[in-house]
């Protein structure tokens, strides 16, 4: 069979057409039944092409069977005396090989895991040891184990398409590349860059992968295999020489590795506070393995992997990965519902403030036209300036090209006056947080919008049901609550008002997925989910401060816990005025346990609004924020003055656990994982702890409840555990049935 014919076959497969039967010549016919995930073809020029094509799936993954299958092909290749080279490729549209099957990995026992790692290592080592040249022709996601296989090849060529992403994200899952990635990447691209990729758990675009040396050439997708074949046939000797090359002698030596590792370790310690063992382990394996023979380095990988896979951190991080996958695809069905929610083509955002501009920018960057409306041209101009600035930052950080940024801005239709909204599919109101104003807007939107338009509010604290009641058709009103800054925060709360129709909610969920955000569906209730759980924590931070605890201690306590930012610093970022408003709204409903700390009102009065006024709990006029010592004026009590950090941490964390349990108890969401997922994605709640409810499970609900009760006894009535927690403590219950993975 000729290469060209093969390439066109591939194309047909990509279009979803089944390749004609009975075609492939040579031995592959006989083996077709046994080999299901990897197809083998031999070109006229004696290049063996192995095409990964997992049946009934849009992705290729590595599980035990696939590895065995690949091993079988390697037997054939090793036995052949004719073959001149091997090209590995994939028949999938957007995925080369997405790495190891995480489900298999997560469910494996220690012995299973050990044998799986060993199997992968030995198969990939066989690829590396073949005495004919090998090349990977990469189109689509090539990550983790998929890229580790490519690393075992002599050459890698990739398509420049957007779908092509190359990297080793293992450390983000609490593990490390253990199928040779930690051993082979530094040898290929040098230690500093390899550490950058492995420790950062990075996945790079094709162009950047080329720059890093992770691939050798970028070639159009349709010509990948042809090019790889030619390369193998024409550059045999270069490829062979490279196998024994010693290119990175300046960085890949023991001395340099030691010095670099020390520097990186101290930086990692500062950043992670020691919470993420995988990065430290990976650093150790990569730097130690570098100066040893590959076989020893692989053994180090194996040991480290088995050790890491046992950790709670790893389990929690893998769970988050699954939760993200689920949020991306999950459909939300509530009662009878139209078959498929219509996708949203045209949008409008009412209000061009920080949130409105942020939402408009995000929607426009996803290719959606957005009408951005405010009351006058000056307000719109501020919003447009905000959008333009976000795009400029994106260009500066190489997230978008100049042309893409311009196209994004072109997608915004500024409107300084009332505009017809009949042809708009979804409108998001992001006006000032005043109920009267919102009611007025929704009343008007009900008239202006077409009959099928979804009317959404981005309110963070007001009742969506009450807003809905102001329109003629409340069933199409829904909350779509973005977090600030919109372009960074992946979570979006879809808030279900009392009157909302199932079709509306489903469409809102689809929309959130369509724009690449992660939805969590929440019943309408004060503060919804994330702010509701976060508020008692922030309030407690305020109370502790008033009672004499220092800003440094309070924030450090929670950084130690694993939060990305201390609570007082977060108050500054959110804005003291906004926090005061939200706390006020929640206090009305939950006065038994949420009393807005006086210090917020005092700061508001003094104009200390946080970051936006450059003064809050911290001062922001210098390069690194400094604690605002002037605030000690507001520390009127002293009962917390001598609290150790552990005590501060315990109090603040317990309040989040308690409120999270209450949200579940009130059925704001359906599952504990909804709560945990929302808190991790919405607030950065220590990911390795798996969320507040998972955290309670790991500490033991009984123990957690006991601690709450002790705090109640010492005068903190608001620590009283909710009924659900109490019941669970009595019955020895847990939030999650599983103890290990899943």
């Amino acid at each position: 069979m000729r290469t060209e014919a093969l390439a066109s076959d591939e194309k047909r497969m990509n279009l979803g057409v089944v390749p004609p039967a009975g075609g492939p010549p040579l031995s592959s016919v006989a083996q077709e039944k046994r080999f299901t995930c990897v197809d083998r073809q031999i070109t006229d020029e004696q290049v063996c092409i192995l095409t990964f094509d997992r049946p009934n799936s849009s992705a290729n993954v590595f599980d035990r069977e696939t590895l065995h299958e690949l091993d079988g092909h390697l037997d054939f290749i090793a036995d052949s005396t004719e073959l001149k080279g091997v090209v590995l490729t994939s028949a999938k549209n957007s995925i080369f090989i997405a790495g190891a099957d995480l489900h298999a990995l997560a469910g494996a026992s220690a012995d299973d895991l050990a044998s799986l790692i060993e199997l992968g290592q030995s198969v990939f080592s066989r690829v590396a040891a073949l005495n004919i040249p090998t090349a990977a022709a990469i189109h689509g996601a090539c990550v983790g184990g998929g890229f580790e296989l490519c690393l075992a090849c002599d050459s890698r060529v990739a398509s420049p398409d957007r779908a092509t992403k190359i990297g080793l994200p293992e450390t983000q899952l609490g593990i490390l590349p253990a199928w040779g990635g930690s051993t082979r990447l530094p040898r290929l691209i040098g230690l500093p860059r390899a550490l950058d990729v492995i420790l950062g758990g990075k996945t790079l675009a094709a162009k950047q992968a080329l720059k890093y040396g992770m691939v050798d050439d970028l070639v159009p997708r349709e010509r990948l295999v042809e090019f790889a074949c030619r390369k193998i046939l024409t550059q045999r000797s270069e490829l062979r020489r490279r196998r024994h090359g010693f290119k990175h002698w300046a960085t890949n030596n023991r001395l340099f590795a030691m010095a670099l590792s020390l520097r990186i370790e101290s930086r990692l310690l500062k950043k992670t506070r020691g919470h993420y063992p995988a990065v430290f382990k990976a650093l150790e394996v990569v730097t130690r393995g570098l100066s040893r023979p590959p076989a020893e380095s692989l053994a180090l990988e194996r040991e480290a992997m088995l050790e890491l896979a046992r950790t709670e951190e790893c389990h929690n991080l893998i769970r988050i990965f699954f939760m993200q996958e689920r949020a991306r695809k999950r459909s939300y069905i509530l009662g009878p519902t139209p078959a498929v929610a219509k996708p949203v083509d045209r949008t409008a955002v009412i209000g061009a403030g920080v949130m409105g501009a942020g939402i408009a920018q995000w929607l426009s960057s996803r290719g959606l036209p957005v009408i951005l409306r405010d009351v006058n041209a000056e307000q719109v101009a501020k919003g447009m300036a905000g959008v333009a600035q976000l795009y400029q930052e994106g260009v500066k950080r190489h997230l978008v090209t100049k042309l893409e940024a311009r196209a994004g801005l072109d997608h915004i239709f500024p409107s300084p006056a009332e505009a017809p909204l009949r042809n708009v599919d979804l409108i998001i109101e992001a006006a000032v947080e005043k109920m009267d104003l919102k009611k007025k807007i929704f009343q008007e939107l009900g008239e202006l919008a077409g009959p099928n338009t979804v009317l959404a509010t981005n309110t963070s604290a007001l009742s969506v049901s009450e807003i809905a009641a102001s329109t003629k058709s409340p069933e199409r009103v829904v909350g779509i609550h973005f977090f600030n800054p919109v372009h960074r925060m992946q979570l979006v709360e879809v808030v279900v008002a009392r009157q909302a129709s199932s079709g509306t909610v489903q469409r809102a969920v689809r929309f959130v997925q369509q724009i690449g955000k992660l939805p969590v569906v929440v019943k309408d209730s004060p503060g919804f989910l994330v702010n509701r759980i976060l508020m008692p924590y922030l309030i407690e931070a305020g109370h502790l401060f008033e009672a004499g605890a220092s800003v440094e201690d309070i924030d450090a306590a929670m950084l130690d816990f694993g939060m990305p930012m201390g609570p007082l610093r977060l108050l500054d970022e959110v804005g003291v005025d906004v926090a005061h408003h939200v706390a006020g709204e929640l206090e009305v409903k939950f006065s038994d346990r949420m009393q807005t700390p006086r210090v917020l009102a005092q700061m508001l009065k003094a104009g200390l609004l946080g970051r936006k006024s450059e003064r809050g709990f911290y001062l922001y006029n210098s390069k690194t924020p400094e604690v605002n010592s002037g605030l000690s004026l507001f520390q009127e009590k002293d009962w917390a003055r001598n609290f150790p950090r552990e005590e501060l941490q315990k109090r603040m964390a317990l309040l989040m656990v308690n409120e999270a349990a209450r949200c579940l108890e009130e059925e704001l969401v359906t599952e504990p994982s909804d709560v945990d997922f929302a808190m991790i994605m919405g607030t950065g709640f220590a990911p390795f702890r798996g969320g507040p409810l998972r955290h309670a499970d790991s500490r033991g609900v009984e123990k957690v409840v006991g601690e709450m009760k002790r705090l109640v006894d010492s005068g903190g009535a608001y620590f009283a555990p909710c009924a659900l927690l109490q019941r669970m403590a009595d019955d020895g219950g847990r939030f999650y049935a599983d103890k290990g993975h899943q």
Binding site: M384, A385, A388, D410, F413, P416
Partner: protein, 407 residues
């Protein structure tokens, strides 16, 4: 020129106008049959600028777009072509308009330099390259000003301002008359600021906001105008920067539909195009174009200036408009030049350019025709009047005349 909008190319200006048009009308852009834009100095980096405007303006890619060029009447040409296509059954919904960035019309290298650059590009060895470089002479680098070239008639060799001087001489239009006319243009434009604001969409450029026209001068005086030096005939001339149109940047977008489509889609129209004519004349006297075009339109429509409630004659130059006014009522001109027995009819000053003209508001050449249509339809509506006549002189020796009627 060189002011608030100078950083924006003709494609960007046109995009902003189309963007605002779609926002204000709420039209589903996939319903558009074609986009037609007039532009005189098309940006070199946006060939067929209408297509660039359409795509960037949010009009789906299946909708075709064409750029048209009839010099100063390009904006009218876009409109009348839409009409002609409609009549020919080639569509019923059009976005038309005009765009011009006079600020961004480039400086050009001379042909002598271009040849040497080409030789340099071909040179391979260092020696060849050095030899190619050595071939350049200082005069090669003297730029040719694109704007100036564009405003010079290639047939008669006169600059547009010089053609205005020809009319001033032949029709005896004095400097004082011209300055007086110019001052009135500013006065009317300043008085109409609020009204004209309805036609202006804000421009949000580089973090700022441009929401007002910077052309009309409230403090313009006859004395100030009198102090300006003649530009085109330094010694005896009368045409100055003050009594000629301002060279400016701008764009206009209009939505036009067949009557049945307007009803089907539930829009309310401003008015309709009742008739139009383009006519040719002596390129050296291109300023008289309106007289020829209005006379020709009369043959088709039977309408004379007496039938108009409002008349717009584009103020390319005060001298040129005043010459047109004289020619319009001259029996002699009618017999000798137009070869008809009666004059086309006097144009009363109170009906003419009631909200000021290009002397105050500027003349982004490709856009002006479409702007005059919009301005006069809006004014007809305000006055609850019936008919407007829009006319422009066209470089190269042409005139355009459009009859518009309010609904």
């Amino acid at each position: 020129m060189g002011a608030d909008l100078a950083q924006l190319g003709a494609d960007e200006l046109g995009r902003i106008a189309v963007n605002a048009l779609l926002t204000r009308t709420g039209l589903d852009p996939s319903r558009i049959d074609e986009v037609i834009f007039g532009c005189v100095g098309q940006p070199v980096d946006a060939a067929n600028v209408a297509r660039v405007i359409a795509l960037r303006g949010g009009i789906p890619e299946h909708v075709p777009a064409v750029t048209v060029h009839r010099n100063c009447a390009s904006g009218c040409e876009a409109l009348t072509q839409a009409y002609e296509k409609m009549v020919a059954g080639r569509g019923s919904v059009f976005v038309v308009g005009g765009t011009e960035s006079m600020s961004q019309i480039p400086l050009l290298f001379r042909q002598s330099a271009a040849i040497k650059f080409a030789a340099l590009a071909k040179a391979k060895s260092l020696g060849q390259k050095l030899r190619a470089i050595a071939g350049f002479r200082p005069p090669d680098f003297g730029p040719r000003v694109g704007l100036q070239l564009g405003l010079t008639d290639p047939v008669c060799g006169l600059n547009m301002g010089e053609t205005a001087e020809v009319l001033a001489r032949e029709f005896g239009v004095t400097r004082a008359e011209q300055d007086e006319f110019a001052l009135e243009s500013h006065r009317r434009a300043v008085a109409a600021r609020e009204k004209l604001a309805e036609e202006i969409c804000p421009v949000y450029a580089s973090g700022g906001l441009v929401s007002h026209d910077n052309g009309p001068r409230a403090n313009q005086t006859l004395e100030a105008l009198a102090r300006l030096k003649p530009v085109f005939d330094r010694k005896t001339g009368t045409v100055t920067a003050g009594n000629a149109s301002q060279i400016t940047d701008g764009a206009v977008a209009l939505l036009v539909m067949s009557e049945s489509k307007v009803n089907e889609l539930g829009f309310a129209s401003l008015g309709y195009l009742a008739g139009y004519s383009y006519a040719g004349c002596d390129p050296a006297r291109m300023g008289l174009g309106p007289v020829f075009a209005i006379a020709k339109a009369e043959l088709q429509t039977g309408l004379t200036p007496r039938d108009a409630d409002l008349i717009e004659i584009n103020e390319a130059f005060a001298a040129q408009v005043l010459a047109v006014l004289k020619a319009m009522e001259s029996e002699k001109f009618a017999r000798k030049v137009l070869r008809r027995d009666t004059s086309p009819g006097a144009v009363p000053r109170e009906k003419l350019n009631v909200n000021g003209g290009a002397i105050a508001l500027g003349h982004p050449v490709g856009a002006t025709g479409a702007r005059l249509v919009l301005t006069s339809l809006k004014e007809l509506k305000r006055r609850k009047a019936k008919r407007a006549l829009v006319s422009l002189c066209v470089g190269g020796g042409q005139g355009a005349a459009l009859w518009l009627e309010a609904l």
